[in-house]
Symmetry: C2
């Protein structure tokens, strides 16, 4: 087929013809994410101009002042307009921040995060009970700032806002692969932009103890590969987060996932000593010995130190995945179980947890742990983080335990933002009573790090986490997936202004793989792929901490924007045949499948000189065939022409074959193209 | 003209049809940069495979071991092959590093940086006198590692290498715009990759005193906007650099460029006290008072502290641009000049420098300063850094002073890599005697930071600095600009693996400006532009430290790869008409001009919703016309057809008009298109 490509296609690889839509002069473009509890737009808004003044009319706290100056700098960069570098006290100014108090000395889940915002053509009035509320309000003002004419306006609007859930977190695993402090800082900025408020810092695991202890220096000297956070660095991050209204909850995982502890202090073991820091992934057999007082003395001294670094009211003690075969074999431990009437490992772990809880209570901290800690022996003051399924969250609530949901928010499952978005910590159909529902504090997105490193983590976290941030903040009935995706795109761009690499890492990876900066064809090709989920990759590649992560699978990103656009177009074409929308969709789909298909020969030509591209040879061939199927399917649907007799069966068979593992990637159009083919008569 | 674009063009915006060239199986692809003193390639090379072993056969220094492990990790990432995480002692292994000693306790210009390398199909033998030599050798091995078949080989070669000049530096101005530590670290990595060995840290200027002093804490408390390096951070960078064979030379600028000092300690002033830290750029009127002993006591205590952080044998005291009008007005100073027989400001500054030199000598440091410090009153132990022109370098050498050249290496001049490359600290036509030539220690690339910040600095530094790195390392007669550019591209990709943003910042900037991630057309459009030089921008925009740097000019990069490709193609077409090379060039040029021209309507459609793009409206119109001229010129040249009577004059007039300032950018093809048009009959 001759490849005559319309000009707009030539200029970009994917679904190009839709340039950024133009908006009527006065129609507000609602890109707020998360959606506020209540917002009414009016026409126009406040022009962002150099004469703009900012006043703090009540609280003058240093934290509020610093945050306001940072906000102004971001507004400057967004609008290209020089804005004031100083803020005054008073009640008259273009932007007035009326904040009642600085809020809690140490931020906890009880913090008042509400704010209200009034924007007119002459000014902005932001009112909040606390600094954290004001920070949220400033993020909303930033998102309300949109192009208009030859400049920017803060859109006129009335906003009343407060979060649905008080616990809205992101956990980053810094043990399986270490993440540098500057990366964590910019991810904190990104969290603040979408009103997340808990950074759950997974600091300890089999692969490394990442927080410096001066009491037990060998924990990092022997229990890490040299990469860890000094206490000064950890304090720096706590301060950085506090300045942005984000709590830092440290996780010091015990008694399992503790190979790193045991490399450093083998005397703590239950029978099996690890050879060294684990570089393999998966569940390890080692565990701390829960039967000896020395273990609790160690933990007590360590946690006393940890609490001098992390002031948060909560401390996460891990507690998941502890098969601890030693606890069933070691005679001393068996003796202990018998003496204490602990019938099995679960009971012994609950005993361990009660001992640790006593330590935490003395340190004025509340215990948080994975759902394995749920046990009637533990008091109702503990918080359960449910990862094995929604069921444990409900079970906990029904027994009176507070909980935080993570199970549907595992980023390495490579689900779409839309699927993550629809999972609710308290779904409409919940069986929990109202009081029980109050025990669900919120949710946490989890970024486990077995299959990523500092170069690739951000594209796995963002922008999908923003969708979940909305789930945790906004009302239960805010569930329009298409509208979420519409707002996810500008949010994703906002996050890039913090220096996040989620949008630039793919091209950098492709350049490295191709050995050239001319990656136009490869970029188009990559638009057809995304990584497979964690479990599939684990089976196909069995990564360890030593596995280089510089292949094609590491470059491509989960749920790229084109994936949802394909879904929309497929839906429009198959659902509303004959309409203008269907016609546009047909054009978009044809262009997409033609472009990705057209990229294949150039990519195949590259392969000879790009060994890291060679595993993609089979996928490339499949792409040629599948893209042709795409073009044909659209043709049959729009020409109202029946396909040849075997076309459908044959196409579906090829699509089915494409599901087989190959190069640890899958086609972004696996489902939507199947739908398209199915729709053909 | 209908726009039928060949498929390969569709896949990328610019000069696409040349995909990465394929190489004959055994022909080595020489991408070494800088070019070694001597290299002979052989066929094949050592396959990079998991079984590869690495041994250190002589020196086992911790620094060498750590560097070797880092090198192996980079080799892993490049080849996607798991390599050992440990290195042994011994003399037999796949890769043998035979390093005589760790070298100087504190690296200085006398360090032996030579190495030799023997790579065969069975092994690698790297021999060096010092760790620094070995580091250079490892960088060469990394560059010798190339795709071959379904994997990578380290190309078989015999290399004897050592640098032409001992002083090969990069200066980054961290005062006009602060640069975070992690950014500096990755730029240190990049420097090491191209064998630069001096990081000149411009820490002090009117806009901010960026290094913490515990003796004089107000220097940063009042003399900076809160952004500075703590002593711990500075030591961290010194260590990071040392581990990579790079010296860190701190610049504590005096007596001019000292507004920040004087905000903090006004008692040091010469009569005029600054109102605050300067946010304007340009030369300030304030200066330290060179007549009072208190000034020297202050400097003495400060530099004593500085030398505890920076162990380098040299300390840079600045010394440039000190008009110091107070020294001509303040009666006390006039009195002093009279009493000490100092006839003018230059003599007074020389007096100042001799006093500071005495301080440095006591601290066991050598003085380095900008060329204004050249004065017969100062001993021959000082080193002059020439920035005002090559003449001062030669003048200094003729008077017996050592010197380092910077004048032709100012990155903000927005010169091409090729122009920078051809400037030589000791050109072939030099009038200096052999002994005088030995006084030229080398050169330093200078990145002044008035018009950039952390988001944009790296695209201004790289990859052009790599070309100058070769100038400083390689032989005087290595001057083939086309070959340099050929090797500059893969070098640029290598630098990206350190996390440099020089290749990704443009797209990130364009996304932010456009408000969409679909920037295909804008990316093509941007291929026509680069920023104007410092002086032009200063006149057009008059930036201050407060100016937002998020406009189109900040996104586009100086001397993008396409610029030289256009030059090559224009040369081929106009110089060798009728040949296949000319024919290929004609196709490439036509495609380029068609693509950039075709992008304009899409960009114009974006402009309505992208206020930061609106300043480009005039350039967009010019681009439509100039791109048509380009296509027409190629047509007339290849069709051997004379142009219509007024075409040439009219085209040249439009090109001339395009030189007028507009949006602080210029066309990358300003010169090459003019040449093309001139060639038309």
């Amino acid at each position: 087929m001759p490849l005559f490509l319309p000009r707009c296609l030539a200029a970009s690889a994917v679904l190009l013809c839709a340039v950024a839509p133009t908006f009527a002069q006065n129609a507000p473009r609602d890109v707020l994410m998360p959606k506020p509890a209540s917002v009414q737009f009016a026409a126009d808004g406040l022009r962002v101009q150099p004469g703009l003044t900012v006043v703090l009319s009540r609280s003058q706290s240093p934290r509020l002042q610093a945050a306001t100056l940072r906000f102004l700098k971001r507004m400057e960069d967004k609008t290209g307009t020089e804005l004031p570098r100083s803020i005054s006290t008073g009640s008259s100014g273009t932007i007035v921040l009326e904040v009642a108090s600085d809020g809690e000395a140490v931020q906890g889940p009880e913090e008042n995060e509400s704010y209200s915002l009034e924007v007119t053509t002459t000014g902005v009035h932001l009112k909040a009970a606390t600094t954290v509320g004001a920070l949220h309000g400033m993020e909303t003002i930033y998102q309300l700032t949109q192009p208009a004419g030859n400049g920017y306006v803060i859109q006129a609007a009335t906003v009343q806002d407060s979060p649905r859930f008080p616990w809205r977190g992101l956990m980053i695993d810094c043990s399986r692969h270490f993440e540098p402090l500057d990366l964590l800082k910019r991810n904190i900025d990104a969290m603040a932009a979408v009103k997340l408020n808990v950074f759950h810092w997974h600091l300890v695991d089999d692969q490394g103890f990442r927080i410096e202890s001066k009491v037990f220096p060998k924990l990092t000297q022997l229990g890490s590969d040299g990469k860890f956070y000094t206490q000064a660095e950890a304090r720096e991050l706590v301060e950085y987060a506090r300045a942005r209204g984000i709590r830092v909850v440290p996780e010091i995982e015990m008694p399992g996932h503790s190979a790193a502890w045991l490399v450093a202090y083998p005397e703590l073991n239950s029978g099996t000593k690890p050879d060294g820091i684990r570089q393999e992934f998966g569940i390890s057999d080692t565990a701390l010995d829960p039967t000896r007082d020395e273990t609790y003395q160690f933990i007590g001294r360590l946690l006393a130190e940890i609490t001098t670094i992390f002031p948060d009211p909560y401390l996460h003690i891990g507690g998941d995945e502890t098969p601890a075969p030693d606890w069933k074999k070691n005679p001393r431990i068996l003796e202990f179980k018998k003496a204490h009437n602990l019938k099995d490992n679960e009971a012994l772990q609950a005993y361990f947890n009660t001992r640790v809880l006593a330590i935490l209570t003395k340190l004025n901290r509340k215990m948080l742990g994975w759902d394995e800690i749920l046990n009637p022996d533990l008091p109702k003051s503990i918080v359960i983080q449910s990862w094995r399924g929604e069921a444990s969250l409900s079970a906990g609530a029904q027994q009176g335990y507070q909980g935080v949901l993570s199970a549907p928010y595992y980023l390495d499952a490579m689900k779409t933002a839309g699927v993550h978005y629809l999972a609710d910590p308290v779904p409409a159909e919940t069986k929990l009573t109202t009081d029980q529902q109050k025990l669900i504090l919120g949710g946490e997105v989890c970024m486990w790090a077995e299959q990523l490193n500092e170069r690739t983590v951000e594209s796995r976290v963002w922008p999908r986490t923003a969708a979940m941030a909305e789930r945790f903040w906004s009302a239960q009935n805010v569930r329009d997936v298409d509208d979420m995706y519409r707002r996810l795109l500008p949010t994703s761009l906002e996050l890039e202004t913090f220096g996040l690499r989620h949008l630039s890492s793919e091209d950098a990876g492709l350049r490295s793989i191709a050995g050239t900066e001319r990656i136009g064809a490869l970029r188009s090709f990559a638009q057809a792929f995304e990584p497979v989920p964690f479990g599939n990759r684990y089976q196909e590649q069995h990564t360890s901490q030593l596995t280089p992560l510089t292949n094609f699978v590491d470059a491509v990103v989960p749920d790229p924007p084109v994936k949802h656009r394909l879904e929309l177009a497929t839906r429009a074409l198959t659902g509303s045949a004959g309409t203008p929308a269907a016609s546009t969709a047909a054009t978009e789909l044809t262009e997409y499948y033609q472009t990705v298909g057209a990229s294949v020969p150039d990519v195949q030509a590259m392969i000879a000189n790009a060994p890291r591209l060679q595993p993609m040879a089979q996928r490339a061939q499949q792409l040629t065939a599948l893209s042709q199927i795409g073009v044909q399917a659209v043709h049959y649907l729009t020409a109202h022409q029946p396909a040849p007799p075997s076309w459908k069966a044959d196409s579906l068979a090829q699509l089915e074959a494409a599901k087989k593992p190959s190069a640890i990637v899958r086609f972004v159009f696996q489902d939507s193209l199947t739908q398209l083919v199915q729709a053909v008569q």
